[in-house]
Amino acid sequence: MSVLRRLRRRRMALGVVSLLCLLAGGCGSPPPDAAALLRQTSAHMNAVRGFHFTLAIQGAPPAAIPVQSAEGDAHPPDLTTRVELAQNGVLLEVNVIVLGSHVYLKSFTGGWQELTPAEVAQFFDVHALFDPTRGLFSAMAKTTQVTRGGQQTLNGHPTWTVSGRLEAAQVHDLLSVARSEGSYQTTYWIEPPATLWRATLSGRLFDPTLEATITFDFSKHDQPVTITAPPLG
């Protein structure tokens, strides 16, 4: 009985939505449920075996957060990336490869070196970034106050924007330099059924007086990525 009623209610809701769509001049597909879309995307992205990513940080105090941007390919949990650091107003590039439990660094000059776990730990846990249980994509599913925004075409992809908030403590677990009090605003650009193209995180992430934004862009989903250990020395 209740199932039938729920079904009927859903059908009615669908009818209203399609009527609204017709009135508005027609839209391609009915807007997805925001929370469900987030859950599906979270699960899907955790299952994607290879992708390209870029990361940009805006509004961070340069002394505390030298990272300006990063770009690379991931085959979670492995990844290879180049990272742009700002030091005294000049930009420097380092390369990082994460392969299993090994982390390799190629600094401003010189060749590749392997970092010890202790050395890695003083920066941040790079293994966690795309980890299926505690990484970025699983954090998506923990977004609260989820609201659906409008449709947007992002780099030629038809996406829905979904916004919400993430607990600062959660973000801090992933990125230890982020402050752990309160919550941060987050927005996702998702192409239905479950492809994430962009995610932003904003708020007073690093400094209680400075608004900062971290933007992740993803592309080439499920593109084969092979990561190999670099020649040391």
Binding site: V90, L92, E93, S107, T109
Partner: protein
């Protein structure tokens, strides 16, 4: 004759006023040729290029030169055909568009695209104005006039790095003003020249233009530049496609020569190359260009590197010592070569002075910019830089005169353009090769030099200081290599000048 002071806008084909306006355009194009050298690092930061990967910046320099070179051979003949002013105006518009693209750039590729277009626009202005000068003067007075115009162009070049450096030092995005101002200036100049541009040009010739030859030459140079571009200086001093690009460039060059021998209106009469005086002048010009470009780029980059940590304005002021020497040398060279009737001697002496100065520059260390111990405000570095500029300036007029004396009246426009083409070829090829080799050498020296990881351990500070010391040494090492090669190239130029150049032809 109308009084030009009545209105800034040109009323008639008043040749001095016309020449002045055209020269103003040439001046700005010259200003722009080297304007980026001191502003390079802020531009790269805006385009997110890290300083430990300077090889990615090479196209900002080579792209401009390539654009310049691609149009230069055709600009002279085009102006013979369609009138100096009209061709001047069209390329001024291209220059302004290129400036607009660069001014609004947020990525390296957009900066490079803008610089190529700027080069193409600016490059055409030079031969057109030089041809205009060659129309008006002959004989010994031509050497002087060319010396003066070269001097004006060099004054533009002198002020270019300073202009760029001062604007770049004003704020983080200050370098964009360099290019916005170009847009405004080009607009004003077009407005002032408009009546002249509208006028039907006189004395034009309808000879066909060798587009195929120009295309072959441009393709050959583009391929050679690509071949020499060391994208990965960690592993190779040249480009990854060098093994096929360099031979292909040579093949295209051979095709170009073959084409020029058959074309009804060749860009350059290749039979001139049988004359050692002609070939010698062309080579000297190219080698001087190579030396100049190396100094122009690497002195500011060294000054702004961690070893001297100057800002763009300070780096430009340092380079100004060299830049000031050039017009002084150019005027002096024009006057003395004409007076003494010796192209060979003056050019060879100029190149010799420059070679010696480059060898001295190669020996720079941490103390190079400290005040001299004799207590004078002048440092040895100042003298070295000025001498390098003076030497490179001295050869300009005698080498130009030696070559232009060997071509017919009708070929003067093409001859003047050819001289600059050779200079720019030297700049392009010399800079590409030296930059690739220098960066490769730097990577070899620092292959084992890794910075210490940040830690709270007490020895971190000491290890960091050690690293910085070694890094400085590696940077000086790189510059030693770069300037030693440049000195050797310029010395070759001195020998060629001494062996081949002819005295001025007796004039009227």
């Amino acid at each position: 004759m109308t009084n030009p002071s009545r209105s800034p806008r040109l009323r008639s084909a008043d040749s001095p006023a016309l020449l002045a306006l055209a020269a103003a355009g040439l001046f700005v194009a010259a200003l722009d040729a080297y304007v980026v050298v001191a502003a390079l690092l802020p531009m790269l930061t805006a385009a997110q290029v890290p300083v430990n990967h300077l090889e990615r910046a090479t196209p900002v320099v080579t792209g401009f030169l390539l654009g310049y070179l691609a149009v230069m051979p055709i600009a002279g003949p085009l102006s013979d055909r369609f009138g100096r002013l009209r061709v001047f105006a069209i390329f001024l518009v291209a220059f302004a568009l290129g400036s607009l693209v660069t001014a609004t750039a947020s990525s390296l590729s957009q900066i490079v695209a803008g610089r190529v277009l700027q080069g193409a626009g600016g490059g055409a202005l030079v031969p057109v104005v030089l041809a205009l000068v060659a129309d008006l003067y002959t004989g010994r007075s031509r050497a002087t006039a060319l010396g003066a115009v070269s001097g004006l162009q060099e004054v533009g070049s002198v002020l270019g790095p300073l202009w760029g450096g001062v604007l770049a030092a004003t704020s983080q995005g200050g370098w964009r003003w360099i290019f916005w101002i170009n847009v405004l200036f080009a607009g004003g100049l077009l407005w002032a020249l408009w009546p002249g541009i509208r006028q039907r040009p006189v004395g034009v010739t309808a000879a066909p233009l060798d587009g195929i030859g120009a295309l072959l030459a441009a393709l050959a140079l583009a391929l050679l530049t690509l071949a020499l571009y060391a994208q990965d200086p960690e592993h190779s001093p040249v480009g990854s496609g060098f093994w096929w690009q360099a031979p292909a460039a040579v093949v295209l060059l051979i095709l170009f020569v073959w084409r020029e021998r058959r074309a009804p209106a060749p860009l350059i009469d290749v039979r001139h190359f049988r004359d050692t005086g002609f070939t010698g002048a062309a080579l000297v010009n190219g080698l001087a260009g190579a030396g100049l470009m190396v100094a122009l780029v690497f002195i500011p980059v060294l000054a702004e590197s961690p070893v001297f940590s100057m800002n763009p304005r300070q780096a430009a002021l340092l380079l100004l010592r060299l830049m000031l020497g050039i017009p002084v040398g150019a005027l002096l060279g024009g006057l003395v070569a004409g007076r003494l009737r010796s192209n060979r001697g003056i050019a060879a002496i100029g190149m010799l002075i420059a070679a010696f100065a480059f060898a001295m520059l190669a020996g720079w260390g941490q103390d190079a910019l400290r005040p001299h111990f004799l207590g004078t405000p002048l440092r040895i570095a100042d003298v070295e830089l000025f001498a390098a500029g003076l030497g490179l300036g001295l050869e300009i007029a005698p080498v130009s005169a030696a070559l232009l004396d060997l071509v017919s009246e009708a070929e003067r426009g093409a001859g003047a353009a050819f001289l600059i083409v050779m200079r720019l070829c030297g700049m392009l090829v010399g800079f590409s090769a030296v930059a690739g080799f220098g960066l490769y050498h730097f990577n070899r020296v620092t292959a084992q030099l890794t910075p210490p990881l940040f830690s709270l351990r007490p020895d971190y500070g000491l290890r960091l200081a050690q690293y910085e010391l070694q890094l400085r040494q590696a940077i000086f090492d790189e510059y030693h290599t770069i300037f030693t090669i440049a000195a050797a190239l310029v010395l070759c130029g001195a020998l060629i000048a001494a062996a081949t150049l002819r005295p001025p032809r007796s004039s009227l």
